[in-house]
């Protein structure tokens, strides 16, 4: 899978693709950040750093970290203005209770072990901290199973229906506050899930 991202990283930032596909999603995350004004933000699966850069420019100047597993993506994120870390979402190299907001856009559906990633999110969040996940989601369990079969052997995508995303977060001790589809010009419309860690 990491090969896929190394190849992808060279074309990932194509301006039109970026505008069409990601801008709306990043806007939704920026809205959440702006209502919470966290001092520390961890952008998990930061890719080429487009959202990371926007987060560093928020008016209250939060400390932002970008984290991704792909060298190709991180090379392109180098100038996003945030310190970068190469790591896996399932094994975060981050101290307990050190982050106020975790953003995770268009990457959760790639994780091999989504339960482990959710547990890691819960561990590194401060009490009262939140996570905003935007992920490709299927409408139903049948959809999830069809997608798995359709992509068998070619892709490792693990899109879950929204209720399963909620269940994975709840199992990690996170309380789901909000879940909705984010409309963008082109489908698939991903699901935004916002969850918090109790103080």
């Amino acid at each position: 899978m990491s090969d896929l991202f190394e190849r992808w990283s060279s074309t990932y930032d194509d301006a039109a693709l970026q505008r069409f596909t990601y801008r709306t999603l990043h806007d939704a995350v920026v809205t959440i950040a702006s209502s919470q004004r966290p001092g520390t933000i961890l952008d998990v699966g930061c890719g080429t750093g487009q959202l990371t850069r926007r987060l560093t420019r928020l008016d209250w100047a939060p400390t932002v970290y970008g984290l991704d597993v792909s060298t190709g993506m991180l090379d392109r994120a180098r100038h996003c203005g945030a310190p970068l870390i190469r790591a896996s979402a399932e094994a975060l190299p981050i101290a307990d209770h050190s982050i106020e907001l975790i953003t995770c856009t268009e990457s959760f559906h790639w994780y091999t072990d989504q339960r482990a990633a959710a547990a890691e999110f819960a561990r590194v969040l401060r009490p009262g901290g939140q996570v905003a996940i935007i992920s490709i989601a299927t409408f139903t369990d049948v959809g999830a199973s069809l997608l798995r079969r359709a992509t068998a052997g070619r892709s490792t995508i693990r899109a879950l229906p929204p209720h399963q995303i909620r269940a994975v977060l709840a199992a990690a001790g996170l309380m789901v506050h909000e879940q909705r589809r984010v409309r963008r010009p082109t489908p698939p419309w991903p699901t935004l899930t916002r969850a918090g860690r109790n103080g």
Partner: protein, 78 residues
């Protein structure tokens, strides 16, 4: 270039989640509990368990001597 201080203060071992020593001269982050060393590639710490190096006792002693000599502090207090 040295790693940013706001990065160092949250950086933990991805395996045992404990603090690390940042040995700037050798561009490594070292976990003395697991004898495990993480490299830094062009200012980006590579915090992947699969890509870490396990060091032997002699190398562990050498790194810890360096930590003592340079009075390096762990990335955070546990």
């Amino acid at each position: 270039m040295a790693l940013a201080s706001q990065l160092l203060e949250i950086l933990a071992c991805p395996d045992d989640k404990g603090p690390l020593y940042y040995v700037e001269d050798e561009q490594r982050l070292y976990n003395p509990r697991l004898h495990r060393s993480y490299r830094i590639d062009d200012d980006i710490p590579v915090m992947l368990i699969d890509e870490a190096t396990n060091v032997d006792d002699a190398e562990h002693e050498r790194i810890m001597a360096l930590v003592a000599e340079q009075e390096l502090a762990p990335t955070f207090e546990q």
